[in-house]
């Protein structure tokens, strides 16, 4: 398991591995939105939570198809499926590797980029917290979507369409936490719901994804 995590991480940091892709995309969104919206700092402060969350969500969507597609192409997925590791564990590890490479990186970068959007100061801890709690759900939901589209060449379109509706609750509650935090309202309720979505996805989706992989490998 640890060997698989180490392998996936070292592949992600090598050329063509996808680390930085999500981060660069997030940076682009956050830099371009103020240019498009204009310099009115009141408007920017109002839209900052939503823009940051949408940016993080799309950035994590960008690298989803790599989770299983590369392993399927070179045959490692067949070999992993016949290896002594449970396939559910393989899915969980691959989702974790995806989260470390995209979700965690986005979470750490978000407070720096929030300056560009003039996020009100009380919002910063909530931004960090909501992304830390919410992005694992994005990775594990994404791993589930990726497992459904294994074997489809250029399955990215279908994958995005499958995953986007599943991302909606995370986006709604995640952005709501930041909005409430930034305006001084109590963010506990959306935060609890966000954590519930993450916990539920983490508990259930590895099993669903492993089942989908078994069907797709036939």
């Amino acid at each position: 398991m640890i060997a698989l995590l180490a392998r996936d991480l070292s592949l992600a940091f090598r050329a063509g591995g996808g680390f930085g892709l999500g981060l660069a995309f997030f940076l682009l969104v956050v830099v371009l939105v103020p240019l498009g919206v204009g310099p009115d700092s009141a408007i920017l402060a109002a839209i900052a939570p939503g823009v940051l969350w949408v940016g993080a969500l799309l950035a994590s969507l960008l690298s989803l198809d790599r989770i299983f597609a590369l392993d399927h192409e070179d045959g490692s997925l067949d070999l992993l499926a016949t290896a002594p590791l449970p396939l559910e564990g393989v899915v969980a590890i691959k989702a974790l590797a995806h989260w470390l490479v995209t979700g965690l990186a986005l979470t750490l970068a978000a407070p720096l980029l929030a300056v560009l959007l003039n996020l009100p100061a009380p919002g910063y801890p909530w931004l960090l917290l909501s992304l830390a709690v919410g992005t694992p759900a994005l990775s594990v939901i994404g791993a589930f979507g990726a497992s459904l589209t294994i074997g489809l060449r250029r399955g990215g379109l279908l994958l995005s369409l499958l995953v986007l509706p599943l991302y909606v609750p995370t986006l709604v509650f995640g952005a709501e936490v930041v909005r409430r935090g930034a305006t001084g309202l109590a963010p506990a309720t959306p935060l609890a719901l966000l954590a519930a979505i993450t916990a539920g996805s983490l508990a259930l989706l590895p099993f669903a994804a492993a089942a989908a992989i078994r069907v797709n490998l036939r």
Binding site: I2, A3, L4, R7, S10, L11, R14, A15, G16, G17, D71, E73, D74, G75, S76, D78, L79, L80, A81, T82, A83, P84, L85, V215, L217, R218
Partner: protein, 216 residues
Amino acid sequence: MELRVENLAVARGGLVVLEGISFTLCPGQALVLRGPNGIGKTTLLRTIAGLQPPVSGAISAATDDLAYASHADGLKSALTVDANISFWASVYGSGQTAAAAALDRLELTALRHRAAGQLSAGQKRRLGLARLLVTGRPVWLLDEPTVSLDQAAVALFAGVLRAHLKEGGAALIATHIDLGLEEAGGLDLTPFRPKHQRAVAGGFDDAFGEIIGAPG
């Protein structure tokens, strides 16, 4: 450790391709599957490996006895030869000495610090076959193991295989060339082709047929 296959039928793309296959593979034995392209050698191996369910019949073997080697070698071209084999050694819990020994057996030790992407096709194949040694599993399911190997490498691999059989292992091999294994039995798959084309019920009908009462 014994692989027993009874009256097995396998399907590919919703059509039964082979049926009525029975054989027993005991320790020390090798069985070479023969037959023209498309007869279902790969499908049979994948079914025995547990990657797809059989249409009917039974396979009795402990799944942790089986090591499957497909057409593709499952190598990561960005990682070194060493990292590739060590990864599989850790997955199978066989340790780094086993990994080094496997590289040595297939004469890859000199290439161990090269990226797998820079290897030739035959060297990649040898690295893929070295993976079998680190699995530590007795029954090898080999799908065209000699593709892109030169004569010397084929002889090398035949030696590895012979040693594996001598240690009480077994192998089921789909191949078109003669490996020179005098102890190996042969099984021609041509007679097991179904007489009439027969479709298998699709996954949807399997799952929901009873609920919605759709015609099978």
